[in-house]
Structures are given as structure tokens and as C-alpha cells.
């Protein structure tokens, strides 16, 4: 830290960041990102993955810093928009907002939708602020330590991230881990960088650069979701029509219930967000449970308790921010959405990781300071614009899905000005739909696809340095600890299942 001290350094970094984030161009793209993010998040059926893959082609032609600022805005903007759909329609705009339905929708039925929306905006801002502060304090420290990591530590860290993300995301752990490795396999298609040999290209020139991230993400998430949703269209029924600025003013009782739940939510979210494989959905569910537990009147929950909206929304926004810590400091994303952002950064020629802080401080701190700008914009914009977002909810799906398809098609075509990416989208739409039918999860596949090539590089490097000796993967304390966590992630669910079985057998006797 040298002679200027930790806070002196932080202060100068903030100055660097602000000078990047506050240029007119970057401010404009931040505004555009959060507005489009809120818009898409409010549309039911469009989650953060679809929003990012749909709009990535638009950012492709921007300068890298502006592109990442805009993508960041889309990413956390969808969380704001998603809660609007949860409260007014009882249909979560994104999975992370599902908890907001539990008490937000009852509030709307009691005619308190406007208060629920304004308190959500405020608590989201509190959550995001805590998340950003944690990030500013800890990211540089982690990056500094990560500079000492060798290939074995990196390999173990990637493995840990993949295992955690796939086995904790719900559903069958075996299927999740299998899809991660299936994704790793897809990531290996293309020219092998160390030998120059083409792998799995089947003579196609277009495949030498690998299967496109965009085609996979758009096909497997965007188009598959469309196919599954077209037939299920239901007319949207909005609960509360009178959402005026006046009705958004919270009562004194609401304000009294605001601070502690939002700070508790922010703390839980910030912690959960940094762990691999958890993400904002788990953060919001956990903070709802905690809030119900600490409440003196738990019977109010589920019937329109405002704490049940405030805490989870603070938590998911905090988690969305702190999820950037492992992605930017180690180059290892903990969730599929961050994996997509990481993949997009790689396409832009940016390598997130410990060296990014040293080599591109303007970009790193610019992004962090743009989070402040973006969240402030969301807070300011959402209150007067809420009427527009309410109307967005009533857009029928039969007008929406051709529009999504249009952005997918023209976006996929425009990135390389080639139709090959369109055929990739079509192929992965079929694969994604097939996976959905047989119950194989798509999100771990994306994570594996992005991390696969990195995993191979670290694997090979480790074994080259050790001349083929596998003990090199666990002969240092950090990699030993990581290996232990990997083993626990795999072993604990198996042991729990065995214990359950034995208990059931005993009770049957």
C-alpha cells in the first residue's frame, strides 16, 4: 500500500474512476444500459441472460469501456425492472425477483402497489450501495493476493467455481456437473492455441475460432425460452391502476420498517454474492427467511408485509454487485450471468483478473464508479418513470416474441457480419429445447463453455511445470484448501442423501 495508505489509494482510485465514468459518452451509455435493463427486466419472461445476449451486439461496436459500462447497467437494471413485474403481475420478471411476489403482490391487491414500488427502488439502492462499497474495499486486496496464484491454484479455483455453481443451483447435482463438463467440451471446439491444430471443426473454417458465445447464449436461453413460452401466453392482469407519485409516498410506519430490513438484506446479499454458484436468487430467498425469523410478527409475512419486499430486493441488488468481485479480480465468474459478461469482455479483448486492476485502472475503477452513477440514475428515474414501466407490463407476448427474435437474428448477424452465427443460434435453440425436455439445465453449460478454455490452459501448464506429476495440483496450502472445498461440495450432498436413506429405512422397520 506504500506511503499514502489504504484510504489515500482508494481516494485516488475513485478519482480515476469518476473521470472515466463521468465523461459524457460513458454517462450516456450508462443511462441507456440501465433504462434498457429496467425495460427488459420488467417484461415477464426476459431474464438477465436473455437481456444481455440480446443487447450485446449493440455494445459490440462501442469502445470497450463504454461497452462494459452499458452491459453492467443492463445487468443490474434488470433486477430493478424484474421487481415491478413481481409486484404488479405476480409474475417475476427475473427468477431473482420471485420472492418479491410473496409480499409485494398482496400489497398491490391492498392498493399499496405504489408504496411497494417506491420502497423497492429505495431498498435496491441501499443494497447496491453496500455491495459497491464492499467491492471497493475488498477487490484490490483480493487482486493483490491473486497475483501470487500459480496455474495449479487457478485450475483448482476454476474447478471449485464450476462445481459450486452447478451443484448448488438446484435440481440434480449430477446433471448440473455433467452439463458443466458438456459446456467445457463445447468450449474446446476450435484451434488449439498451443499446437495450432484444429479440434472438432469438421472442416468448417468458421469453427476455427470456436463456437460463438453469442450463438450459444441466444439459442439456448433466448430462443428456447420463446419456444416454451409462446403457447403459454396469458393476458396480463395488472392489479393496481392508480400508481401516482402521491401514492408512492410511504407512511411513517413504512419508513420505520425500512432501514433495518434493507441493511440486513444488503449484508446477506453482499456476502452471498461473492460466493461461487449462489447469486442473487439465493440471496433474496435467504434474506426473506431471515426477515421472517427476526420479525416480532411473522404472521404478517405473505400478506403484504413491507419488510418481505424491502429485504430481498436489497439482498439481490447487493449480490448482483458483489458478484463482480471474483469475476473482475480473479477472472472467475460465480454465476451464469457473470460468465456471459466475462465472455463478452474477452471478446472485447479485455482479460479480467488480477492484472486488470494494475494495467487498466481506468477501466476497473471507471466500471465501479459507473455502478454508483447507474444505481443513482435508477433511483431517480424509476420514481417518475414508473407509469411507463407499468404500461410496458401490458405488452402482449405475441408482439414481444417476434421482436425478441428480430433482435436475436439481426444481432447475431451483425457481430461478424456472417450468417454462420445465425445457424449456430438455430442449432443451439434445438439443443436447448431438447435439454429442457429431458431436464438438463442450460446455465451450467454456459459457465463451462466460458471457463473451459482457461481450465485447459491451467491444467496443461501445471503438468508441464511438474513434468506430469499430479501432486502438483495440491502441494501448496492454497490449492490444498481449494481441493478440500471441492471434495466437500461433492461429498456433502452424497453423505446427506445416504443419511436420509438410512433414516428412512430405519423408520420403515
Amino acid at each position: 500500500m506504500g506511503d499514502i495508505g489504504f484510504f489515500g489509494e482508494l481516494y485516488s482510485n475513485m478519482a480515476i474512476g469518476l473521470s472515466t465514468a463521468l465523461t459524457l459518452e460513458n454517462l450516456l451509455y450508462c443511462l441507456l444500459g440501465v433504462t434498457l435493463g429496467t425495460f427488459l427486466g420488467a417484461l415477464p419472461g426476459i431474464g438477465v441472460l436473455i437481456a444481455l445476449s440480446m443487447l450485446f451486439p449493440v455494445t459490440f461496436h462501442l469502445p470497450p469501456t463504454a461497452a462494459i459500462i452499458m452491459l453492467g447497467g443492463i445487468y443490474y437494471g434488470t433486477a430493478y425492472g424484474g421487481s415491478i413485474a413481481s409486484i404488479l403481475l405476480n409474475v417475476p420478471g427475473t427468477p431473482a425477483n420471485a420472492v418479491a411476489c410473496l409480499d409485494g403482490h398482496p400489497m398491490a391487491r391492498q392498493g399499496r402497489a405504489a408504496v411497494a414500488l417506491s420502497m423497492t427502488a429505495a431498498s435496491s439502492f441501499v443494497g447496491a450501495s453496500v455491495g459497491i462499497i464492499i467491492m471497493m474495499l475488498f477487490a484490490p486486496v483480493i487482486a493483490e493476493h491473486a497475483l501470487d496464484f500459480g496455474p495449479a491454484e487457478y485450475f483448482m479455483l476454476i474447478l471449485l467455481g464450476l462445481l459450486a455453481a452447478s451443484s448448488m443451483s438446484g435440481g440434480s447435482a449430477i446433471k448440473g456437473v455433467a452439463m458443466v463438463f458438456f459446456g467445457v467440451a463445447l468450449g474446446l471446439v476450435g484451434t488449439d492455441l498451443s499446437s495450432g491444430q484444429n479440434r472438432y471443426t469438421f472442416g468448417l473454417v468458421e469453427l476455427r475460432d470456436g463456437l460463438g458465445l453469442l450463438g450459444i447464449a441466444m439459442g439456448i436461453f433466448g430462443v428456447t425460452e420463446i419456444v416454451a413460452s409462446i403457447r403459454g401466453e396469458r393476458p396480463a392482469k395488472i392489479e393496481s391502476r392508480s400508481i401516482t407519485l402521491r401514492a408512492m409516498v410511504p407512511t411513517r410506519d413504512d419508513m420505520r420498517r425500512f432501514w433495518m430490513p434493507s441493511l440486513r438484506g444488503a449484508a446477506i446479499g453482499s456476502f452471498i454474492g461473492t460466493l461461487p454458484g449462489t447469486g442473487s436468487m439465493i440471496a433474496s430467498f435467504l434474506s426473506y427467511a431471515v426477515e421472517k425469523r427476526v420479525s416480532k410478527e411473522p404472521e404478517r409475512f405473505g400478506k403484504g408485509a413491507i419488510e418481505g419486499v424491502i429485504a430481498p430486493e436489497a439482498a439481490n441488488n447487493a449480490a448482483d454487485q458483489t458478484a463482480f468481485i471474483p469475476t473482475l479480480t480473479l477472472g472467475i465468474p460465480g454465476s451464469p450471468a457473470l460468465a456471459l459478461i466475462l465472455g463478452i469482455l474477452l471478446i472485447h479483448g479485455i482479460n479480467p483478473g488480477p492484472t486488470m486492476l494494475a494495467e487498466r485502472p481506468d477501466m476497473f475503477w471507471g466500471l465501479i464508479m459507473s455502478f454508483w452513477v447507474g444505481n443513482l440514475l435508477l433511483l431517480i428515474l424509476n420514481i417518475p418513470l414508473i407509469g411507463i414501466w407499468v404500461r410496458v407490463l401490458t405488452v402482449p407476448y405475441h408482439l414481444l416474441f417476434p421482436s425478441i427474435l428480430f433482435f436475436v437474428c439481426i444481432g447475431a448477424f451483425s457481430v461478424n457480419n456472417s450468417t454462420f452465427d445465425l445457424w449456430t443460434v438455430a442449432g443451439f435453440a434445438v439443443l436447448g429445447y431438447g435439454m429442457r425436455l429431458i431436464g438438463l439445465p442450460a446455465a451450467p453449460l454456459l459457465l463451462g463453455y466460458v471457463l473451459g478454455p482457461m481450465m485447459e490452459v491451467q491444467f496443461r501448464r501445471t503438468l508441464i511445470f511438474s513434468s506430469g506429476d499430479f501432486t502438483a495440483f495440491f502441494d501448496r496450502p492454497i490449492s490444498q484448501a481449494l481441493l478440500l472445498i471441492c471434495v466437500l461440495i461433492v461429498a456433502v450432498p452424497v453423505l446427506l442423501a445416504l443419511r436420509d436413506r438410512r433414516r428412512r429405512r430405519l423408520s420403515a422397520v
Binding site: 449493440v58 461496436h61 440434480s172 449430477i174 446433471k175 456437473v177 455433467a178 463438463f181 458438456f182 467445457v184 467440451a185 474446446l188 488449439d192 498451443s194 499446437s195 491444430q197 479440434r199 472438432y200 430462443v223 420463446i226 419456444v227 416454451a228 409462446i230 403457447r231 401466453e233 402482449p396 407476448y397 405475441h398 408482439l399 416474441f401 417476434p402 421482436s403 427474435l405 428480430f406 437474428c409 439481426i410 448477424f413 451483425s414 457480419n417 450468417t419 445465425l422 445457424w423 443460434v425 438455430a426 435453440a429 434445438v430 429445447y433 429442457r436 425436455l437 429431458i438 431436464g439 438438463l440 473451459g452 485447459e456 491444467f459 496443461r460 503438468l463 508441464i464 506430469g468 499430479f470
Partner: protein
């Protein structure tokens, strides 16, 4: 495919087959090398093997589950496949891919929206045409005017 355990058996077989195919390609097409001197095929071979082994693990656990529970508990709640919608949506993307270079953006967007609209009962042809026109304008403004991409509006090169 009626129960979730039937579905898991299909998933397990799909994983085993794709893992084996991936690993097999590595053996016959790429050089494996040794662990100290790895060739381009070693890591893909290991990855394919892992996928196949996880598929086998799924097969075994599902088979055990089936033997224990004679009556399937969760037979319901499986999504029925909707091949017609899938075919129409994929076909609409294919039509776009075939037309965008040869005929330009306007015909490609109209054809894409018209094909896709057949999958929805609510999107009547006239409404679909109007929607396609709006999308063409948006596409022109965003991608041609603002981003300056060389996408022709109309072309003729079959």
C-alpha cells in the same frame, strides 16, 4: 417418456453417448501425448470421459430410484414437447439467415416475422405485417443509422 425417471434415463444416455463421441474423436483425430507432454487431444479426451462417467452415474442412480419406488411419484408436471412451435421458430431464423445477404434486411425481417407468427394464435397476418414494418424501422435506426453497420435494406443477389 411419461415420468421424470424415464426422462432421466434419456438424459443419462444422451450424456453417455455425447461424452463417448467427444472422447472418441480425441483419440482418433488428435494426438493425446503423455501427461508431461500433453498433445491437443489429452484434455478433450478427459473431458469427454468425465461427461460419460457422470452420465453413467445418473443412469445408476435413476435405475436404483426406479427399483425402490415401484409407482412413480412425480409422473405429472412434465412439459409436453411442442415440436410445431420449435420447428416454426427455428425455420423463421433459417429464413432470415437465407435472405439477409441475398435480399436485404426488409424482406428478411418480413419473412421471419410471418413464419414466426404462425406459431401464435393471437398474431394475425395483418398485425404481423405491421409489426414487421415497425421492426424494420427500428433495425434501420439502431443498426444502420446509429451503429453504422453495412446491412443493406434491399438487395438482389440470388
Amino acid at each position: 417418456m411419461n415420468t421424470s425417471s424415464d426422462r432421466d434415463l434419456v438424459a443419462a444416455c444422451a450424456l453417455i453417448l455425447s461424452g463417448l463421441a467427444f472422447g472418441f474423436y480425441a483419440i482418433i483425430q488428435l494426438r493425446l501425448g503423455t501427461f508431461a507432454q500433453m498433445g491437443p487431444g489429452m484434455f478433450p479426451f478427459l473431458v469427454g470421459l468425465t461427461v460419460a462417467m457422470l452420465g453413467a452415474a445418473l443412469l445408476v442412480t435413476t435405475a436404483l430410484k426406479r427399483r425402490r419406488a415401484q409407482t412413480p411419484v412425480d409422473a405429472a408436471a412434465l412439459e409436453a414437447p411442442d415440436w410445431r412451435t420449435l420447428a416454426l421458430v427455428v425455420f423463421s431464423i433459417a429464413v432470415f439467415a437465407l435472405l439477409i445477404r441475398r435480399a436485404g434486411m426488409v424482406p428478411a425481417v418480413f419473412a421471419m416475422v410471418l413464419v414466426a407468427s404462425r406459431s401464435s394464435d393471437d398474431l394475425r397476418p395483418l398485425k404481423a405485417l405491421a409489426l414487421a414494418a415497425v421492426l424494420c424501422v427500428i433495425g434501420w435506426v439502431v443498426f444502420v443509422l446509429l451503429l453504422g453497420l453495412p446491412i443493406p435494406l434491399l438487395a438482389w443477389s440470388f
